[in-house]
Symmetry: C2
Subunit: 402 residues, 2 copies
């Protein structure tokens, strides 16, 4: 008798009707003779509502209290779902993060799991219960409530699956799997049967927001098979995220990330430590840098370009200006309204000509590339945002056909 | 430096504006050099809303899960109030029942406190924090969330005050103290400066719903001075509930309890054990009996009369009918639409003529009494409900004047 972990997100549990679908999925797996652990998010807009009430109180909420506040949303869902399953003659009970407990570090609003005690869950499973776990939350070693940041219920689910050595973890969502691109941009998208953890990591960090990155990292580390499935389709097969890509596709997806700005520092002193100093200053000011490209200029200076989110642009320019003397550069240039278009696939490293195919697709459509960056399983280019959808479509067509 | 416990109920914390008043009361006491523990209820109609959502799921909610669900309301208030106090430059933090912990028995929805660990609260108080405690909830020895039933936040507050040996416990509410009667019935009510625990117990069980009975019992047992004050009046002195009545009033209050029915069993066998048997049968069927009066009839039978809430009447009559043979009575009579009017005061036991004064007031207004019952500090009579307000007013006038 295996253990299956099922996770249902906020839109899957938004109201009583939807909780009914959720209950069906649970009971179906239970009837197959499995032990079921269910992880749930807060219902619909519950977390948003709590956060907007918080914003009325203060601009800078105490982070410990923020976690106390928002963790109630998941707790409410667990109790309701347990009651509904009881009503359907199923033994079920709820557990909050601290009741398991899921021990985390003390970084409020964005804590990381240290370890999960299996005893409580196992005891309840062994006495025939469906165990409903509040996602997204844990408790630190001093007994404070902690949360994992948005999307953290995915992390709860996969971490519990890893800890219990579950057969698999099903992530139920409103789409029935992972697609080769965003169907709102490309109308010939294909659903993937499987995708590797690494590709999924690149996909989700690139704007294909199907799975929370940390959950994929944990899945990879402990080799948990993760299925992305639809809550509202019966017999949804979904996409399997696993350690190897079982399909013979060169690339698995084309993604797009908007609202990017590029900053170029011209004439940076070509001295050891200057690059380090630059990114240390930015990180101290909590600015997230994405792509970095360095090109050497004359022998005593160099140019360095990097991207930041557009809403960090103003702050970044201010920080650079303030530290101009210390960092020792001549000038700052910047461009706004850029998008990052990427292709992702383990095939990229082994198949020659992938980059050429991608660039050809862009060339054929007269799309200019402002920056190129490559890795083992990914090639990204910066394009003007008004050409980004065209870029995604032309690349998708090149690799997947019409 | 003393410890003060302040409790604010649901209407006192209903929205951000009202939380502002609450914060003022807290900061005022803090500035006097006191250590402050605050106990809060769920905001406004939060608990009602959760219960109505629960009712959509099931008619018979699992009681463990009910407690998981409704305990979130208080948790939300604690986090918001802590944030608001932080915003006002005060060190403050929230504690849920399980974080203190407040250990209870496992009777879900109506659990009783076993003991309170002081260490966590004391540690936070000693490091200068205002400690905000979620009312109405605790945790049993297996780590399940428990709640105390409606009004349980009063109990939390007084129990914590007792445990920490606080100087006093202030119960903030929307009225500024305890009155000699219900101002909606009597327009010449007077506010009491003090009232004894015993009188308060009789008052609150009689329909003057100012304090939860269990909180008064705990206050009495551990001799905690309890002040009932108004949240929305500055410098409200309120009413002190304490071990002795410091005022020289014969009675302290006139109360009314509606929706009562009287049941009379005629010709009950006058045998030892029959009375016990009768009330055992009723309690096994969860029927709460209030006043009991027994009058002897012929030597082999007796009559016995008692009151139950009107919504228990049908069930009571059914239970009696089903057990008629075993209980051995001849007939059942009943009257509906009765009200119990009572006077309460430690003076009753010592001052002669109090009962006579009460009955005279009723006689002068042509009000018939259907049952009389007396105790050391209370005299109750049953009257027709349509005469109950007149009864309360005439008695109030007799004892307190115009």
């Amino acid at each position: 008798m295996g253990i299956i972990v099922q996770k249902f997100g906020g839109s899957s549990v938004a109201n009583l009707e939807k909780l009914g679908y959720v209950a069906e999925h649970i009971i179906t797996e239970k009837k197959k003779g499995n032990k079921i652990v269910v992880v749930v998010s807060a219902q619909g807009k519950t977390t948003d509502k709590l956060i907007s009430e918080e914003a009325e109180i203060t601009d800078s909420p105490n982070e410990r209290e923020h976690d106390v506040l928002v963790s109630t949303g998941e707790q409410i869902t667990t109790a309701k779902l347990a009651m509904l399953l009881n009503e359907k003659k199923q033994k079920a009970l709820s557990l909050a993060g601290w009741q398991i407990p899921i021990i985390t570090n003390s970084e409020f609003t964005n804590s990381r799991i240290r370890y999960i005690h299996n005893e409580t869950i196992e005891e309840y499973l062994n006495s025939g219960n469906i165990v409903i776990v509040a996602g997204f939350q844990g408790v630190d070693e001093s007994g404070n409530i902690t949360t994992f940041g948005r999307g953290g219920s995915d992390t709860t689910a996969v971490a519990i699956a890893a800890s219990l050595k579950a057969e698999r973890c099903d992530i139920f969502t409103d789409v029935d799997g992972v697609y080769t691109s965003d169907p709102r941009i490309v109308n010939t998208v294909k659903k993937l049967k499987t995708i590797s953890y690494d590709e999924m990591l690149e996909m989700s960090s690139m704007g294909a927001k199907v799975l929370h990155n940390r959950c994929v990292e944990i899945g990879k580390k402990y080799n948990v098979p993760i299925y992305v499935k639809s809550t509202f389709e019966k017999n949804s097969i979904g996409t399997l995220v696993t350690d190897k890509n079982l399909e013979d596709l060169v690339i698995n997806g084309v993604t797009k990330d908007d609202y990017i700005s590029r900053i170029t520092l011209v004439g940076l002193e070509n001295k050891i430590g200057k690059t380090y100093q630059l990114f240390r200053v930015l990180s101290r000011n909590l600015i997230n840098v994405d792509v970095i490209v360095q090109s050497f200029g004359e022998h005593i200076t160099k140019d360095i370009a990097f991207t930041v989110k557009m809403n960090d642009l103003k702050k970044t320019l201010e920080v650079l200006e303030k530290n101009k003397k210390e960092l020792g550069f001549q000038d700052v240039l910047h461009s706004e309204n850029l998008s990052k278009v990427s292709i992702i696939g383990v095939g990229i490293a082994n198949k020659p000509g992938v980059a050429a195919d991608m660039f050809e697709a862009l060339y054929e459509n007269n799309i200019n590339m402002h920056m190129i960056s490559t890795s083992e399983i990914k090639i990204s280019v910066l394009v003007n945002s008004n050409q980004a959808d065209l870029a995604v479509n032309s690349i998708h067509k090149k690799f997947f056909g019409e």
